[in-house]
């Protein structure tokens, strides 16, 4: 019961936190969809782990107003994002662009993947037992012995 209560509380919390974005009546339905998508993709600078849509901060509401104004003025999504980046840097984008500063961020997972592959490959190779020529000969002799023993015990061929 306690767990269920906690889950319900958690879900209520997430609904509440998503309610910062205001209802608008000045945008057409397609513009409204674009507005909501952009507000989700832009980050609030004050409460840094919330999007513009989630944040109740004064600055977030100002930034949302700018987004609405620019959509109404016919600016494209890219133009709006550029407007924000010029003022607040790449930080304002939840999806950082690929550039010199974010190079490590983007390629490091792949570097780790390749390194991991080589590590596992190396370990697997070292585990493979290396036999000297003498050992190989002994092994063959033993196998032959077993083979002969099996042949001598083999049941008589069917009639």
């Amino acid at each position: 019961m306690k767990i269920l209560g906690a889950i319900i509380l958690f879900l209520c919390g997430s609904v509440l936190s998503a309610a910062a974005i205001e209802l608008t009546d000045d945008l057409t339905p397609p513009q409204e969809i674009r507005y909501r998508a952009l507000a989700e993709e832009l980050r609030c600078l004050v409460c840094q782990n919330q999007s513009l849509a989630d944040s109740d901060a004064d600055l977030a509401s100002d930034m949302r107003a700018v987004v609405r104004r620019m959509i109404k003025a016919g600016n494209s999504n890219d133009e709006i994002k550029q407007f924000m980046t010029e003022r607040y840097g790449d930080f304002v984008l939840y999806r950082p662009p690929f550039n010199a500063a974010t190079l490590l961020l983007w390629i490091f997972p792949f570097v780790v993947l390749v390194l991991g592959f080589f590590t596992v490959y190396g370990m697997a190779r070292r585990r493979r037992i290396q036999l000297s020529a003498a050992d190989k000969q002994r092994a063959r002799a033993l196998l032959d012995e077993v083979g002969e023993a099996q042949e001598s015990q083999a049941p008589p061929p069917p009639l």
């Binding site: 600078l45 004050v46 840094q48 004064d58 600055l59 100002d62 930034m63 700018v66 980046t85 010029e86 003022r87 607040y88 840097g89 790449d90 930080f91 590590t119 190396g122």
Partner: protein
Amino acid sequence: MLRFLPLAVFVVLVAFFLAGLELDSRLVPSPLLNKPAPAFHLSALDADTPPVDSEKLQGQVWLLNVWASWCVACRAEHAFIQRLAGEGAYIVGLNYKDENAAAKEWLQTWQNPYQQIAVDRSGEVGLDWGVYGVPETFVIDAAGVIRYKHVGPINEEDLQQTIRPLLVKLRAELDA
């Protein structure tokens, strides 16, 4: 050799985490640094003085201090702004999202360090300057380029180690 790889990875990770502890995640690097300062034309707090025009500030080294009477941290840095003003720095105040009466009262209580005060009631100019946490302070050189941005209240260390040396350097650039 490969045996020490996990240890090496661990050491590198620890180094990153230690460096991360020193970083303040609230400080967002400004894309406006070393770029021309966004122009503004705003009415002055005192109705008797002419409007504040950023173009007219070209040719001198100046500071833009974003403040408001509702901003508690602005009180904390006021003494340092006052000191900079006393040392001859040209400081323009950007009164951010404030009420004129409250702003005037604040200045009367705590003294006015500003040469000019621009009123940004809507926060529009603040947005152009990438302001996200009041107080903020910008240092603009004679060519109108932003050379430094400080987010949050200025303290003794910032004043002595960063702002004052920068002002000295910029004035030397101007004289040269």
